[in-house]
Point group: C2
Chain length 561, copies 2
């Protein structure tokens, strides 16, 4: 009998990191442990100082990431009672773009006493939005200087959340930090560096967040020079041109990291990955035609294509971005679970709260129960799901929410259902845009926080899109995906796998029960979607920019208040 | 010293009637009493039977009106300790069109055992909406048969709430009741008949609800014949062509009514009036240029003009309709206080409910307090105030509510304020439509339930319209207005007045504190109103009939459910 082998996946989220130990043969999770970041999201003051941050800033402390390794891996080893010698690999996934400046040796500048009081020395979290001026200028400069095609792979716009706007903000606001930084690096790659002692860069963040492509590499120096002459050599001076494919072996675990974790030095460490993208193979998807949607506060849609296409309004297309050798397409909706949470926080009436308490339900469950009794179209309501702007396909953060059709008889559960339906229409528009541009989507695999607790939402998505929807079995999908990449980094010879496709066949599963579109529902939703599209284009494509005017009026009034 | 004289005003509302005894010299109220209708609004079953009513029906029991006289007048006489000999007149006002079939002698058919089980024998309350098919057919027939100009004075459409659709519904659904009815009469005129023993018809309901005009009388027989040959002689057979001006003496109190009330037989009884219209002189308005708005669940706007004009989308223009010899214009918004009540019932969050309870505030007060801290434009929200359709200027019950500009940071008080603002934009559009059609509006006098408890709403209306707003002093404005008309019916010789203008000078007053537009607010609201108008026209004038399509889809689904 062959000795069982295991890998560890570590999933770095916004507020905590989670490690899970996974059986390589079956994908079964044996133990998991979570460690919350001591400094969490830093958006008011720098820790240990009175230095206040401006609005839209969001930082983190890189030491919190190391603490995740030091706390969670020993715990899962102990809880599972597995011998470290049977752990053949480790993989990690991270939020992105979450980046930091370090010395040439990888020491975060914020660890150094001389820079500790400088906000720009810390990690910029994905949702740090203060580089919007740089993002705007980058997009304008690209278009005005003949580099417009660099934006095509990203829906026509580079987001303020991404790598170069953040780097440029550092240069603009703290040139001394920019100068002191030997490296500018994704936190994903930085933690792998800390595990192995060797710097690597992964294809996923390079492609989706730093404008890299497998064919053309990074943008040319002339582009960076057009932004700012001081940026001309940013790639050569502070990054790496060698980009590693997902699942590759970044190196072996260093002696120091072995001591932190209790694992053996030399254990295979996989190239870093991103939380969303690592989930696709963990949801069984390693081939074209099946869309993965990670449904939580927001939706992230991923599809693997046969060939690279320019699809308007997507977040990005990257060859090797999800699985090796095929283009991975990403699209997104910036507000999904957040819609429902907003509604419950702001519009859940006292009478319903009393009813929920009496029935032992939470607010969501009560609303979902009532909303499930409504037929499609019965509320007479229609919403545009833009409470947090629109990511795909309009790529416009200045759009806002709309609800139409309210009467004096409108009930809270009708609005709640209309918000669910609105997010489903948004997904259908993304699916149709992919299809219209030669990227096939024949079924949906859902994962993330919402699918497991919201069957009504799943049925609505199936009815609205007309597609079958399956749900990934693993609830901690990121940790599983990372462990799968750890198994690939170890390789079949060590008891792992030679490809992520093989790993997915053995380690990833769907739940048995899925969702099929109900034809009568789909017929009604086809009509409602037609109405949605008309409003989507009227408010989203320039016919009436009232949303932007209201938003800029609001900003001006708040600024002068 | 001249002995003080008094009049009694009786205000018949939807659920109860109120009598007040008023000092003719000063307008001061000495006592008032309310009597609730025992059968209230009959919208489920006929009283004392198992006969169920269809949706949209709303009936009343005429005996409830007589009970108001019998209960309230003796009470106010006793409470005020005034000698019946010093009561020189009595006036009434009523909801309209609230109508009933009676015998030729004025006995309600529903009082007769043979008709008591027939719903059509009862009073049809103003909000009986089941005559919509008849209203639609009336409007179509008028336009198709060369009688289109009859609709011009009513914004182009006769409402299902009005007199002839209700009469026609009786003919269509209960021809035996139509045949048995010696009279079809407004409840307003019917109660005056019960007080005096003499049938009269008032100019206000004739003009606003029954298509009568001072110049042309009722529509020609050919029009009624085009509707249905059996209706050809409806005016001659079941109504009266003699229409009496407001403030005229309908007759003296009958012996029987004197017994009911404790007043002296022969006491002057004024021609009937309508609750809204009687309020204009009670709010000091008897001349052109000053708009009266009765603000409650809905808004009713009244302006006196110099000459009759066709103003698009108004509810009606009637010479003698508000004061004698001048045209009275009426417009309306079908949902004002109802908006706020809907919001509080359906969207007032539990957390706020707890805060309100702690502070000893009701929901409205808490929201108004929070909303008052917002600057115009600060919420970034804009709403169309169509939760109950649009009365003026679009005259379209199938329009529905819209909210635009929501974000994840949107708070309940911001939505609440946006709904307030939306009703103010609706009023501004009405004011501008009057002005664009040569009817001047230079200031607003507000009365009704909202002005006294909602100073923020008053300030918003002033800021949005750019007009000063004054508030009528009397809280029971209908009863005061009716008492004023009672004083005019009595005449100066008896200690009353010879005209409603004289009565208004002495008996009606405004509060000292009014509202002036704040220029900075008006500047912001000018921009927001521009946005409102674009959305108003886009959704309300046919560019995108999505609201109607959603509503008809809803109706179909509910019908098939």
């Amino acid at each position: 009998m062959v000795q069982k082998k295991y890998t560890i996946g570590v999933d770095f989220g916004t507020l905590s990191g989670r490690a899970a130990i996974i059986d390589v043969a079956s994908g079964r999770e044996l133990a998991s442990a979570v460690h919350s970041y001591a400094n969490g999201v830093i958006d008011e003051r720098l820790p240990g100082t009175e230095i206040r941050l401006e609005p839209d800033w969001a930082l983190q402390d890189p030491d919190d990431y190391l603490e995740v390794f030091k706390n969670t891996i020993p715990t899962v080893l102990q809880e599972s009672n597995i011998d470290a010698a049977d752990i053949i690999g480790i993989g990690i996934d991270f939020t992105a773009c979450t980046m930091l400046p370090t010395t040439a040796d990888g020491i975060p500048l914020c660890f150094l006493p001389e820079w500790r009081d400088q906000p720009h020395a810390w990690v910029k979290l994905w949702k740090h939005h203060a580089a919007q001026p740089e993002a705007n200028q980058l997009n304008d400069t690209a278009r005005e200087n003949g580099f417009g095609e660099l934006l095509d792979r990203y829906g026509g716009k580079i987001s303020s959340e991404w790598f170069f706007p953040k780097v440029w903000q550092i240069l603009n606001e703290a040139p001394e930090i920019y100068g002191a930084a030997g490296r500018m690096i994704e936190a994903a790659d930085w933690v792998v560096w800390q595990l192995t002692g060797a710097e690597t860069r992964n294809a996923c963040t390079a492609g989706y967040k730093a404008m890299w492509s497998k064919q053309e590499g990074f943008p040319p120096k002339a582009f960076f020079k057009a932004l700012d002459p001081k940026l001309e050599n940013v790639v050569d001076d502070k990054m790496m041109r060698e980009i590693s494919p997902l699942g590759a072996r970044a190196g072996g675990l260093s002696e120091e990291a072995a001591e932190w974790t209790g694992l053996l030095a030399g254990t295979a460490v996989a190239i870093a990955n991103v939380d969303a993208h690592v989930s696709a193979p963990a949801a069984t998807v390693t081939e074209p035609g099946r869309m993965v949607i990670i449904m939580g506060t927001s939706n992230c849609h991923m599809v693997i294509g046969q060939s690279e296409q320019i699809v308007p309004g997507m977040c990005g297309v990257v060859e090797d971005g999800i699985v090796p050798d095929l283009p991975g397409f990403e699209a997104g909706q910036s507000c999904v679970g957040d819609h429902f949470a907003w509604f419950i926080e702001n519009c859940f009436p006292a009478e319903y709260a009393a009813e929920a308490e009496k029935g032992g339900l939470d607010a969501h469950d009560l609303l979902a129960e009532k909303a499930a009794n409504l037929k499609p179209g019965e509320s007479g309501l229609l919403a545009l799901d833009w409470w947090n702007g629109n990511r795909s396909v309009l790529v416009d953060v200045d759009l806002t929410g709309l609800l139409i059709g309210a009467t004096l008889a409108t009930k809270p559960e009708e609005i709640y259902r209309a918000l669910m339906e609105a997010t489903a229409y948004g997904t259908r528009l993304i699916v149709e845009t992919f299809r219209d541009n030669s990227v096939s989507v024949n079924e949906i695999v859902a994962t993330g926080g919402l699918p497991n607790r919201n069957p009504l939402l799943m049925q609505i998505y199936s009815d609205v899109t007309g597609l079958p929807i399956y749900v990934a079995e693993a609830e901690q999908i990121g940790a599983l995906g990372s462990a799968m990449h750890g198994a690939v980094a170890a390789g079949a010879g060590a008891g792992g796998y030679d490809s992520i496709v093989d790993a997915a066949h053995k380690m990833a599963r769907l739940r048995e029960e899925g969702y099929e579109p109900v034809p009568e529902h789909t017929a009604v939703y086809d009509q409602l979607f037609t109405e949605y599209k008309v409003l989507h284009d009227y408010f989203g494509r320039g016919a009436n920019d009232v949303m932007k005017r209201l938003k800029s009026m609001k900003a001006e009034i708040l600024f002068n208040k």
